[in-house]
């Protein structure tokens, strides 16, 4: 038993070191970013859209607005398609076909984000520019690209949630004379609701944190977009664009942008966690 204790201790130390990674990241990002938020003042940092680091102006409102706009657009596309695919694969698809399609959808998650960005630039952006007007680099282009990128996340978690609904629910509904679709949206989707909420929130986290694809298709101006055809700069692309050059206050301001992003993601994560807990607790009971 002595050996057992020793092994247990070693494993605990390793587990804690893994967690200390998180602590380290948090400490570093905040240490680098927080001072400038305090110096500039939360109001001027978060509620001003005046970003001109060389002149000492550090307002990130337009980036926050940009990130939110792009993420909202991505969620509309990601949810409609992602959930649609999840419903098809679990409710209306022969098992053999689903077994092929599911890994294919998951493959979408493996494609590098630079490839998505590149495909957006060479195919989507000219289409938007030619047929809808504007520079092509736009909220719309970013939303579509990001929507495709978050789709696999939404789909695979939704599929898990739908499959976790006990089979008798489905059978009971069908036995009462409901069609498959009535069963799907009135019984299955309802029962899997909080799992789907988790899927949506994690997808949102992915969308808001994506960098390279967005930088290529968003256009990155400093102005808040007024229409979906306007270009947009997000928090992530702001960091990636200027990090290479930044020093002093400018770099701190970029870290502060990172802090903002970090906090937004943490909040989303916690919400997702609570949602999935609720879902786990209700599990089969509901």
């Amino acid at each position: 038993m002595k050996q057992d204790k020793a092994i247990s201790l070693v494993l605990l130390l390793i587990a804690l070191s893994a967690i200390s990674g998180l602590a380290l990241i948090t400490v570093f990002i905040f240490k680098e970013g927080l001072p400038i938020i305090l110096r500039v003042g939360g109001r001027d940092f978060f509620l001003s859209s005046d970003w001109e680091p060389s002149a000492g102006h550090f307002g990130i409102l337009s980036m926050i607005a940009g990130s939110l706009a792009v993420t909202a657009g991505a969620m509309v596309i990601g949810l409609v398609f992602g959930l649609g695919v999840a419903i098809v694969l679990t409710q209306f698809c022969p098992a053999g076909l689903a077994a092929v399609l599911k890994p294919a959808i998951e493959l979408l998650a493996g494609i590098p984000s630079v490839v998505y960005g590149f495909m957006g630039v060479v195919t989507l952006v000219p289409l938007i520019r030619t047929y809808l007007g504007g520079p092509g680099l736009s909220v719309l282009a970013s939303s579509i690209v990001l929507g495709i990128m978050v789709l696999p996340t939404v789909t695979s978690i939704s599929i898990d949630a739908l499959q976790a609904v006990p089979r008798p629910y489905w059978e009971g509904s069908i036995a009462l004379g409901a069609t498959q679709w009535q069963t799907a949206h009135m019984v299955m989707l309802k029962a899997a609701r909080s799992g789907i909420v988790t899927a949506a929130i994690l997808g949102m986290g992915r969308a808001i944190g994506e960098t390279m694809a967005v930088i290529m298709v968003a256009g990155n101006p400093l102005e808040i977009p007024h229409s979906i055809l306007d270009p947009v700069r997000t928090l992530t692309s702001n960091i990636a664009l200027e990090m290479g050059y930044a020093s002093g206050q400018h770099r701190q301001a970029l870290f502060a942008t990172g802090v903002t992003l970090f906090v937004i993601i943490m909040v989303l994560n916690t919400v997702a966690l609570v949602a999935s807990r609720r879902y786990a607790r209700r599990g089969g009971a509901r």
Binding site: E52, P53, S54, V121, V125, P126, R129, P135, G136, L137, I215, M216, G219, N220, P221, L222, E223, P231, R233, A240, L241, E242, M243, G244, Y245, A246, S247, H250
Partner: protein, 269 residues
Amino acid sequence: MVRGMLRLLAYGTAAAWVLLGGGCGRDAARAVSVVGSTSIQPFAEFLAEEYDKKNPGQRVEVQGGGSTAGLQATANGLADIGTCSRALKPDEAEQFTQTLIARDGVAIVVNPTNPVNGLTSEQLRGLFSGRIRNWREVGGRDGPVRPITREEGSGTRESFVNLIMGKERISRAALTQESNGAVKELVKGDPAAVGYMSLGLVGEELKAVSVDGVTPTAENVLAGTYKLARPFLFVTKGPARPDAQRFIDFVLSPEGQKILETEGLVRAR
């Protein structure tokens, strides 16, 4: 089979940790690292390639990151040579030893379908600040103007701002791209676009317009008539390391200068 995979994983892990531990003698035979401007990066890479061919055993490693990043990296010892595609600010000039390796024009580029062939400094200020919103105002077709700028910190941007914009600010609505190539791609596809980029990288697909009546060519930059030009600098912190100095010497040699010239830059001396 599964046991084999376990074992492989274990050996691989062990090897990785040994490498981690053993790699501490990093200063031995370290490559000369050149970090900085994305505008200079392709030229520096090409020079490094040629230098390596001539001097087997010497290694030069080129990084992007941006002019300011290059200076920073040099300041804290991360890089042996920093590259900078703009004039040093006074406080920077005090801190570093600088070597001019070439000069580069900043070309104003528009889509080839755009009928405008020349612009004045005043018109450029208007286009980029957002005061001029229609190409008709500068003699082009009726249609919106879409200025494309580089990101804050870029040497190209700082040169453009210093030489053209003066006190005026670049429009907040201007699209921001992170490299010469990205500016090029965008202008190539968008008839309404106007951008600025390294003259050496313009190529055939874009139209570089004349500024204040002077065409952007290497000769005009060398002659000093095309005023939109900037220095390409190598900076070191104090005197360079011997192997770094050898690379700098190579770049300044007639052979090195010839390479830069064929690539579209303007020789330093």
